[in-house]
């Protein structure tokens, strides 16, 4: 049985290749001059990195779930 880490990497590589291979046929449907709203700081997924990191740390020490939070992993000695 394939380890889960390798399986995820294989899926990631397939998705990346599929996206890259189809890149030439993609026309940007949101032009650079139409991105003012997206560039507003209130649209950032990580406007306050220090506060978000602390919030994640609180949840990681109180809950079993972990990962896929858009942050790097780190040991915290929470057990």
């Amino acid at each position: 049985m394939m380890p889960m880490g390798k399986r995820t990497l294989r899926v990631a590589v397939v998705i990346l290749l599929a996206m890259l291979v189809s890149a030439c046929s993609v026309e940007p449907w949101v032009k650079p001059y139409e991105r003012a709203n997206l560039a507003d700081p209130i649209m950032s997924f990580d406007r306050d990195p220090v506060a978000n990191a602390y919030r994640l740390h609180v949840y990681e020490t109180r809950e079993a779930a972990r990962g896929a939070d858009g942050k790097g992993g780190g040991g915290c000695g929470c057990n």
């Binding site: 889960m4 649209m43 306050d48 602390y54 079993a64 779930a65 040991g75 915290c76």
Partner: protein
């Protein structure tokens, strides 16, 4: 037929690679990826709930060197005072301190951003070191950012009541992230992460308890030496016409210990007049217990693995949070472009479905007849951020 299909596939792949080469060449001439902003944050954090208080500072400084390199340093302290239900039931209240330092460097090359970082977490009975690498690339007219990440960590676990106790654990994280511009007002983020652990994964202090009706006792927990978890999350942001933002997040989690979990979060960000920004959010989390968890085993050694950690039990928690931010532009301090003063409060309620409160009624109730445990916690953060 098969050969033809293979031939066509080879041609398609060749075309795709040529297309990719052309795309990369075009990409190289456009530079939309940017280094992280130069900023500094000084934060004071406080957690108070379930008999545990944790507080301390966190300081983050990020500075660019030239046009392509950005460095980051973070210093973080947890001052812990614990009289949790676990501690009261099995030991004496304690205080300790954990410090965490991390250093990172980002390197930007055209549309590709690479990050290398190192984090060290140190407390009296636990030392954790983690190295991380990630690479992200903007593509499709900068509508899509793909990130790949890998971390490896080593933990050394001690025991404050036994100087001879020393165990270790190794952790690896594999991450894939995608941020997609959907429309001129909406963004989507998708993250996948697999984490593998190997080594000593339980607590050297916590026991499980057992009772066959006549005999009651406690014995050290025993966990598997390996754990693999998978998580996928979806995040969404939408810009409202009157300059406000709606956000949503969902995550599904599963691991080889039999734990599955879901959490959803919705948020709303509303700029007020005169430089104030208001944030409100609600989060709901639910998880199913590990296969080897029980509040009360029927006998000693009932299973190969035995745990009574409430974080491995079945429970739900709800968070309601509010934050407020004030932006200022100091005219007297020329080196600061802008700054914000921020305050946030999260109130969390935890409700356990199969973890009983041994301390209820002064510990006089029979094992298995105590009420299920629940508690609330307040998380407070006050911080100053400056951009320069």
């Amino acid at each position: 037929m098969v050969l033809m299909a293979r031939g066509e596939a080879a041609v398609a792949v060749t075309r795709g690679l040529l297309c990719l080469a052309g795309f990369m060449a075009v990409s190289a001439t456009l530079s939309a990826a940017v280094l992280p902003e130069e900023r500094a944050d000084v934060l004071f954090h406080s957690y108070d709930g379930g008999g545990v208080t944790v507080d301390g500072p966190s300081i983050l400084v990020r500075k660019s060197i030239g046009q392509s390199v950005s460095v980051k340093a973070n210093y973080y302290v947890d001052s812990i005072s614990s009289a949790s239900v676990d501690v009261i039931s099995n030991a004496s209240p304690y205080t300790e301190e954990r410090t965490e330092t991390s250093l990172g460097v980002d390197y930007l090359h055209n549309k590709t951003l690479m990050n290398l970082s190192y984090t060290k977490s140190d407390e009296s009975d636990y030392l954790a070191e983690t190295g991380s690498f990630s690479i992200s690339h903007d593509m499709f007219g900068d509508l899509t950012t793909v990130t790949l990440g890998y971390s490896v960590g080593n933990d050394d676990i001690g025991n404050n009541t036994d100087e001879t106790f020393l165990r270790s654990a190794k952790r690896q994280n594999f991450r894939l992230g995608l941020t997609q511009v959907l429309t001129k007002n909406s963004l989507l983020g998708v993250n996948l992460e697999t984490i593998t652990d190997e080594g000593f994964l339980s607590s050297p202090y916590r026991p499980y308890r057992f009772s066959d009706g006549t005999t009651f006792g406690k014995a050290p927990e025993k966990y598997p030496n390996t754990r693999t978890s998978n998580a996928v999350s979806f995040r969404f942001k939408y810009f409202l016409p009157y300059r406000a933002a709606l956000s949503g997040e969902y995550r599904y989690f599963h691991d080889t210990w039999g734990i599955s979990a879901n959490n959803v979060e919705i948020g709303y960000t509303h700029p007020l007049k005169a430089n104030w920004i208001l944030d409100v959010h609600y989060r709901y989390y639910t998880q199913k217990a590990a296969d080897f968890y029980s509040d009360l085993f029927s006998r000693e050694g009932e299973l190969n693995f035995l745990a009574r950690d409430k974080e491995l039990s079945t429970f739900q928690d709800h968070t309601i949070g509010i934050g407020v931010s004030y932006e200022f532009k100091p005219s007297s301090w020329q080196f600061i472009d802008t700054g914000t003063l921020n305050f946030s409060l999260d109130h969390i309620r935890f409700n356990y479905d199969d973890f009983r409160d041994e301390t209820a009624a002064g510990g006089t109730l029979a094992p298995g007849e105590e009420p299920f445990y629940s508690f609330t916690a307040n998380v407070i953060m006050a911080y100053l951020s400056i951009w320069y």
